[in-house]
């Protein structure tokens, strides 16, 4: 695939590589600077593996001060910088370019402080998402946003992408769960925004950082909200004959005043793929599956489930299957959370990420099917049903360039469809390079120029993650 353009590397920077490497090595401890081809290669791409570029160098600092020194140096030298967490971005947000230095926070992976009385944890940006929950789970607490990649992805990357997960219906996405960051600006100054308290004085710069995709600064620490887990949680499988019925049941559940912790949707192709992988006991004779999770004491869960089951029956549910043990519950979630990996075992795929008003679900599912069939390809759908966040997985063969191009084109058509019905280009994976050139589809020139002027306040020269989010043409400085 070659459809997405990268900026032409700055020949002057490439020519100065040796000098730049020497400058960097004077700033960081030995071992933090990676220059050899072999060691740089893992940083060529992220989870959007169809695109890759070898960076000029990779720096893995251990302290905020080192990040500051490197960033100031790159700023002074006019060298582009690619902030990187764990490199699991699906939109190419962490893919470098030849004239750029990757600054990765993966060595900064300490939990700094846990404060149960105030329900916050302060962590370094390279800590993995799951490690935060791991550090507080013995006391019965958890960190709410739970991307399927939570074993690998970092808190810094989660903030960069404003990541979500299956349980965000009740608990919100990253931006609703981060109370503060420590960050380094391009000129090397270190600032703290927010902290253990709620709401910010002045403009909501913390809100701006969430989803900023590495364009405004490098986050080195975060203060996140930790929550007390419910007494119990139970995922239940609901099989419906058709997607329409499943969609209508979701709307009716919400309409009845019930907000389950999670409502996940899978269509038939997705059910088959995930069941083959996880053996979770998903019903195979249905057209669509909802995984609905309820929380609380046993009695509370029984009561809430009874309400949900009654509604599901009104919408033609054919199978209701409760998890009877922690193991069954884990298997149900394993199937869902490994949807991407399981798909990867049977075909190459691109994972799309758009949002739609949930009322448009039946129409969008039908249109997506038509779009993908129109390209002669197949699609499997997993989807956060409560909030309208779609993840169509378009299956193709990556060794066939024509098919690869078709898959990418189908994906773009689907994203345009999302915008047409009143949704957005991304729910949680970010714009990155993948959706960059579609931004003009969702926003008009004034909207985009306003965003770019805000961006320029932090980075007038477009050095921070420069090839991302905004179309390469027509960029606006201050």
């Amino acid at each position: 695939m070659s459809a997405i353009a990268f900026p032409t590397p700055d020949a002057g920077i490439l020519a100065r590589r040796e000098q730049i490497l020497a400058g960097l090595s004077a700033l960081v401890s030995p071992g933090a600077l990676i220059t050899s081809d072999d060691e740089r290669r893992p940083y060529e791409t992220d989870a959007l593996t169809a695109y890759r570029r070898m960076p000029l160098a990779v720096v893995l600092p251990s302290t905020t001060e080192e990040v500051a020194a490197v960033l100031r140096y790159c700023g002074d030298q006019g060298v582009p910088v690619i902030p990187r967490g764990s490199g699991t971005s699906l939109s190419g947000g962490a893919i470098p370019q030849e004239d750029a230095v990757v600054i990765g926070v993966s060595k900064m992976s300490r939990i700094l402080e846990i404060d149960y009385a105030n329900r916050v944890a302060r962590v370094q940006a390279g800590v993995t998402n799951l490690a935060v929950t791991g550090a507080v789970s013995a006391e019965g607490f958890f960190y709410a946003p739970d991307p399927s990649s939570q074993l690998a992805c970092s808190i810094g990357g989660n903030i960069g992408m404003n990541s979500g997960g299956a349980h965000c219906l009740k608990y919100g996405v990253t931006t609703n769960n981060v109370l503060g960051v420590k960050m380094v600006m391009l000129d090397g100054s270190i600032v703290e925004i927010g902290g253990g308290h709620l709401d910010s004085p002045g403009y909501d710069l913390l809100g701006l950082m969430n989803g900023s995709e590495g364009q405004l600064g490098i986050i080195t620490e975060a203060t996140v909200r930790i929550l007390r887990s419910a007494e119990g949680a139970r995922p239940v499988l609901f099989g419906f004959p058709t997607s329409e019925q499943a969609g209508a049941a979701v709307a009716a559940i919400i309409g009845a005043g019930i907000i389950p912790v999670a409502m996940e949707f899978m269509d038939k192709p997705a059910i088959e793929i995930c069941e083959a992988f996880a053996k979770a006991g998903y019903p195979m004779d249905c057209g669509a599956l909802l995984i609905i999770e309820v929380e609380g004491s046993d009695d509370e869960m029984d009561a809430q489930l009874a309400r949900i089951v009654a509604i599901a029956r009104e919408h033609g549910v054919t199978t209701v299957k409760e998890s009877k043990s922690a193991m069954e519950a884990a298997a149900i979630w394993k199937g869902r959370k490994s949807a991407f990996g399981a798909t990867g075992r049977i075909a190459d795929y691109i994972c799309m990420d758009g949002t739609i008003p949930t009322g448009q679900l039946p129409y969008v599912l039908k249109r997506m099917d038509e779009i993908v069939k129109g390209y002669g390809l197949r699609v499997a759908n997993v989807f956060h049903a409560g909030d309208g966040n779609l993840h169509p997985l378009i299956l193709y063969n990556c060794n066939d360039p024509v098919e690869a191009q078709k898959a990418e084109d189908a994906g773009m058509d689907i994203l345009k469809l999302c915008v047409e019905v009143g949704g957005c280009l991304t729910g949680e994976h970010g714009v990155g390079i993948e959706k960059r050139d579609l931004m003009t589809f969702q926003f008009n020139p004034e909207d985009l120029a306003q965003q770019m002027r805000v961006r320029a306040v932090f980075d007038e020269r477009w050095l921070l993650n420069p090839a991302k989010v905004f179309p390469l043409e027509g960029r606006v400085a201050a």
Binding site: N118, G195, P201, D299, G422, Q451
Partner: protein
């Protein structure tokens, strides 16, 4: 003093364009009930949202509502209530505190990020605000966010605008995520606890699996002679029953709680939400946001420096509402916060006082520079609400 009352976005754009370059800044008016927030701003003319009213989209099954900025908040709330829904963040009404009149508008809720007791659990107005349309200081119509819950595509300008007090532009339409109204509500009330005990109780409750939706402590003398420590439960009736029992057990060391329902419960929370304990006095009123367990530390430190100061706690202790003699030393508040972190906002004081002291917490130099840059990026000529937040911003 000119008042512009555009009835369309196009007219509003024209108003803004007409003042660009002419050094006649605009103040922005919704219902006027919160005009006392921020520093007193100087503006020769006013642009009002009164002509931009009405709900533009309401999809109960999608839990989303959009309305023009001048729509009365009450209309939004009634429309939601008719379908058993509500705004998640329980916005404060400033009329009691300010002694102001008029109808609060939905636009101001977004512009000033107005939340209430539910904020501690369900997030602030900014967390539920999912889309905005506004006119920037270049007279351009800008949109950000959307009508879907996950809406951050590109930079999240919605968050920047929320809490900008009109300094970045004139909002014309706002979109909020909504929630079902709870089937039942009950309040648990403990009596006679000290500030430190009260906040410890609230922390323990908020750190329990029983999900209090609001948590406040009222020292003695505010709502009667005894201190009151309050937890509000919202749920299906059977769950409330169960959770009230579990909380009483968990918090047994603090005594047996009273159980309040109906208007008694609702009235108390309205007083907490609107800080009505400080209504009708001429005290200066501050809001301190800090780590909950630091709440009592800050309050007692201030109490030592300023005899006569009164206060109460919302958000589990993390929000301290503080009233002090108007000629008291404002610096004392910031001094008390310094070792603790957090921030303080002067909410109510005569114009002369709000012009003389920092109303919002002063920012570190690099953040102040960013703040000025953001203001300029939206409003290069400084048209909107000049000086409302900081000098020149």
């Amino acid at each position: 003093m000119t008042i512009h009352t555009p009835t369309t976005e196009a007219q509003a754009c024209a108003v803004v364009k007409s003042v660009i370059g002419s050094a006649t800044p605009l103040s922005i008016r919704g219902g006027g009930t919160r005009a006392g927030l921020g520093r007193p701003a100087q503006a020769a003319s006013t642009i009002s949202s009164a002509g931009l009213s009405g709900i533009t989209l309401y999809e109960p099954a999608e839990m989303v509502i959009a309305a023009r900025a001048g729509t009365p908040l009450a209309l939004v709330q009634e429309t939601l209530a008719d379908r058993g829904q509500m705004l998640p963040f329980e916005p404060m009404d400033h009329r009691a505190l300010f002694g102001s009149e008029g109808e609060p508008t939905i636009g101001a809720i977004a512009a000033c990020n107005i939340s209430g007791p539910r904020r501690v659990n369900a997030g602030a107005a900014r967390d539920s605000l999912i889309g905005v349309r506004l006119i920037n200081g270049r007279g351009e119509m800008i949109k950000s966010g959307g009508r879907v819950m996950k809406n951050v595509t590109g930079l999240d300008l919605v968050k920047l605008v929320s809490g900008s007090h009109g300094t970045l532009g004139f909002l014309t339409e706002v979109t909020f995520r909504v929630l079902p109204k709870p089937a039942a509500i009950a309040t648990l009330q403990w009596r006679g606890l000290s500030d430190v005990q009260g906040v410890a109780l609230l922390s323990q409750a908020l750190g329990s699996p029983f999900e209090p939706m609001a948590a406040a402590h009222l020292p003695a003398g505010l709502a009667g002679d005894e201190a009151l420590t309050l937890l509000r439960l919202e749920n299906f009736p059977d769950s409330i029953e169960y959770r009230a029992g579990e909380l009483a057990l968990l918090l047994g060391e603090y005594g047996v709680p009273d159980r309040l329902e109906g208007e008694h419960s609702a009235g108390l929370w309205r007083d907490v939400r609107d800080a009505t304990f400080f209504a009708g006095t001429n005290e200066a009123v501050w809001r301190l946001s800090l780590k909950p367990t630091d709440g009592p530390k800050a309050a007692t430190a201030i109490g030592r420096m300023l005899p006569g100061a009164r206060w109460f706690y919302d958000w589990g202790g993390g929000l301290v509402w503080l009233a002090m003699p108007v000629d008291g030393d404002a610096a004392a508040v910031r001094t008390a916060l310094k070792p603790l972190g957090g921030h303080a906002t002067l909410v109510r004081a005569p114009d002369a006082v709000r012009a003389a002291v920092d109303v919002f917490q002063p920012l570190a130099e690099p953040l102040m520079r960013v703040t000025a840059g953001i203001k300029k990026s939206f409003d290069p000529d400084g048209i909107f609400e000049p000086g409302r937040m900081y000098a020149g911003i």
